[in-house]
Amino acid sequence: MTGMPANTLELRGVSLRLGPRALFGPLDLTVAPGDVVTLMGPSGCGKSSLLALICGTLDPAFRASGEIALDGRPLRDLAPERRRVGILFQDDLLFPHLSVADNLAFGLDPAVRGRKARAAAIAAALDDAGLDGYGERDPATLSGGQRARVALMRTLLARPRALLLDEPFSRLDAGLRDRIRRFVFDHARAHALPTLLVTHDAEDARAAGGTVLELGAPQAD
């Protein structure tokens, strides 16, 4: 795809505390458009919390400091829904009360107007995911790989400016993992999205092909 705005995700001196515990940081990081940066580290080191901080959904029990900017604009004072940061979790979080097409329509950017244009955008996304004709299906009837692809499509249709991946491949079985991984990374690059991946799996990091950062174990002080 062309004509996408070039976004860069920047973290300047970001650190995170939970009560008396310093989780990590200060962390400096620049993710260029289309790059995938991988964050690794033991459980509880605050990897997922960092992603929640970027999304604006961090639990108020945490204390964060530092500056996060997307395309030069600080995110701090933006409500989560104004940040346009897409995130994928371990669970695909497809809405169980909507059909596959309705799930995609829910994500699709409101700037795409008119019933026809929206239906066309959804059909194109289904086609892209190799799920042509699956629109009216109940998400619960899809296989794990299909659900993962729908979840990615839904996130991309919202036209995010950055993509966060919170161990999205860990629930998939080994044979599938590699294909979905490639599917996700290819799309992130095609959309020129700065992408931050959190994982335990060294294989994920290798496949991402970008910088790998190790977050330390939490320290009490």
Binding site: T57, P80, R82, R84, I87, P96, F106, P110, R118
Partner: protein, 570 residues
């Protein structure tokens, strides 16, 4: 596992027995109301089926008004309550506000409808607290000449119903949110650019609503057919339908029983029709919402909506609490002239003068409540244990839940007369066991629902470990399940006691006017207007369930005072 099954032998019959015990009277009562509605009641000389009761009913000039009032007040109060709770959760689901309000509602939930209605009346009447605080400083020492309580449109009644039902629906919504993992989905929707409230409404609400539907219908049924709240807050001429019917049922001229029965069936049809209407409206709303969803509009910040929803909810909880506080003031007030915001002196005169009579009513009320709640606990525990041992799905799913809710989905006035006839034939009317049994119909659903959750949540591995250690299921019930569930069991019992204390109509019908509880006595005082006495009864109405909840708090804390692991449990 055959040994388990054999030991659970007798238990197998408990669930059907329980259903029969409380659905039997319901259907029999309906049937014995249906007979007189078509002229058949041999005891009163009705030997042949006829339409005469219906003709008499429809010939009554105030009927249209009464039906309109029931429909208008019931539907408005329900819609308002649902809207207030939904808006609150839509805007504040992830905030501390919900947790703070939760602490406020516990006392409100246990207070009988009648006490809350009196509280509102004392608050908003022209000589009530609000006017003393805000009107008197401006307009001088004479209360305004207004009809606020018992207004002809039923606005005060709607207000009272909202005060009682918002806390109930709040609790249901809270429980549903806890059981459905929607937080991640809402966060995801916000990531797509949806505002907080819109994301919640589109993603969480459709998944929570199925758990809300039956409680909402119970609210609708109650609101459309309440008698005690309507006597205190509603218009008197004409009154809402259910009040009119109770007047006819109690008329010295026994011939009125026939048209009253026809009216009771009309009330049933009215509620059933409204429920159908509601279900139809649900579909229309779902379709419209889906179309909007497909268009993908993200919505604004919703800051105004957030302020409005929080303000409304806080007003509702605050008004209810302030109303109850006024009652307590009146109970202990000596002289309290109009513009004074507080009594000029205090006295326990009312309590002393009415003490002996009050004591008798308290004893009757407590006895009935403990009997009904105790029976409900035994039945619920035995049914749950039977379900658990056969490892089948327990009564909390699908159809079982509808059956459990059934007594709450049928207007009380529609079947209590039939039950009264049956009790008269059995020679048991006007006795306190009859009253306790009639309360059981309404106590059992709440006790069952309260216990079912705790039973489900208890880690099944405790039980499996016990079996592996060679203990029988019966021994495990007494040694493991009962102690581990002590607190939820006592809480469920306290809920049952609160429900029983608050019952008005069942006491009236099954007690045949000869069994008086603090609630029937309090409602009877509404016409008299002795504020100190009403305040006194309202305080007693609050204290009885309060003591039960206190016991549910203290007893387990004392029993397990050296067991840290039991403090967080259940």
């Amino acid at each position: 596992m055959t040994a388990v099954q054999r030991r659970g032998g007798l238990l197998r019959f408990v669930p059907p027995f329980t259903l029969a015990l409380f659905l039997g009277p319901l259907f029999a009562g309906l049937l014995w109301t249906l007979g007189p509605a078509f002229g058949y009641l041999p005891a009163l000389g009705g030997e042949r089926l006829s339409l005469a009761p219906w003709q008499a009913l429809f010939a009554y000039p105030g009927l249209g008004n009464a039906v309109g009032l029931s429909l208008g007040t019931g539907l408005t109060a329900t819609l308002l309550s649902v809207a207030i709770v939904t808006a609150l959760f839509a805007h504040w689901h992830d905030s501390r506000l919900i947790a703070r309000l939760r602490r406020l509602i516990a006392p409100l939930l246990s207070v009988p409808h009648a006490a809350l209605a009196f509280g509102l009346a004392f608050l908003i009447a022209p000589s009530g607290w609000l006017f003393r605080l805000f009107w008197a400083p401006l307009a001088g020492p004479v209360p305004p000449d207004l009809t606020i309580v018992q207004d002809p449109l039923g606005l005060a009644l709607i207000g009272g119903l909202v005060l009682k039902e918002v806390p109930f629906l709040f609790l249901i919504m809270l429980a549903a949110s806890g059981q459905t993992a929607t937080a991640g989905q809402v966060a995801q929707a916000r990531g797509f650019g949806y505002g907080k409230a819109r994301a919640w409404c589109a993603v969480a609400f459709p998944q929570l609503y199925p758990q809300l539907r039956l409680p909402v219908f119970a609210v609708l049924t109650y609101a459309m057919s309440t008698v005690d709240m309507a006597i205190i807050l509603g218009p008197a001429t004409p009154p809402p339908l259910a009040v009119l019917l109770v007047r006819w049922f109690n008329d010295p001229d026994l011939a009125f029983r026939f048209q009253a029965s026809a009216g009771a069936i009309l009330q049933l049809l009215l509620v059933a029709g409204t429920v159908l209407l509601w279900l139809g409206a649900e579909r229309v709303i779902v379709r419209a919402a889906r179309r909007r969803l497909m268009a993908g509009r993200r919505g604004g910040t919703g800051r105004f909506g957030a302020m409005l929803s929080a303000g409304t909810a806080i007003t509702v909880f605050g008004t209810a609490t302030a109303g109850l506080a006024t009652m307590a003031l009146w109970a202990g007030a000596g002289r309290w002239r109009y513009p004074d915001p507080l009594p000029s002196d205090w006295s326990l005169d009312a309590a002393v003068r009415h003490g002996p009579a009050l004591g008798g009513h308290v004893a009757t009320t407590a006895g009935i409540a403990i009997a009904a709640a105790g029976a409900a606990l035994v039945l619920a525990l035995a049914s749950l244990e039977a379900g658990q041992r056969r490892t089948t799905a327990n009564a909390n799913g699908g159809r079982g839940l509808v059956l459990l809710y059934l007594p709450l989905l049928v207007p009380q006035v529609a079947f209590l007369f039939g039950i009264q006839i049956l009790l008269v034939q059995a020679g048991a009317d006007g006795t306190w066991p009859a009253v306790a049994w009639s309360h059981l119909l309404f106590v059992l659903p709440y006790v069952f629902l309260a216990l079912g959750g705790a039973y489900r949540d208890l880690d099944p591995r405790y039980f499996r470990t016990g079996l592996a250690l060679g203990r029988s299921p019966a021994a495990l019930f007494w040694r493991l399940r009962l102690p581990l569930l002590l607190r939820p069991i006592l809480v469920a019992g306290a809920i049952g006691i609160a429900v029983s204390v608050g019952e008005y109509l069942p006491t009236l019908f099954a007690g045949a006017g000869r069994v008086t509880t603090v609630t029937t006595e309090a409602v009877g005082l509404a016409a008299g207007g002795d504020r100190r006495l009403i305040g006194l009864y309202a305080v007693v109405q609050m204290i009885l369930p309060g003591l039960a909840f206190l016991a549910a708090l203290i007893i387990p804390a004392w029993c397990f005072r050296r067991r840290r692991g039991m403090r967080t449990a259940a």
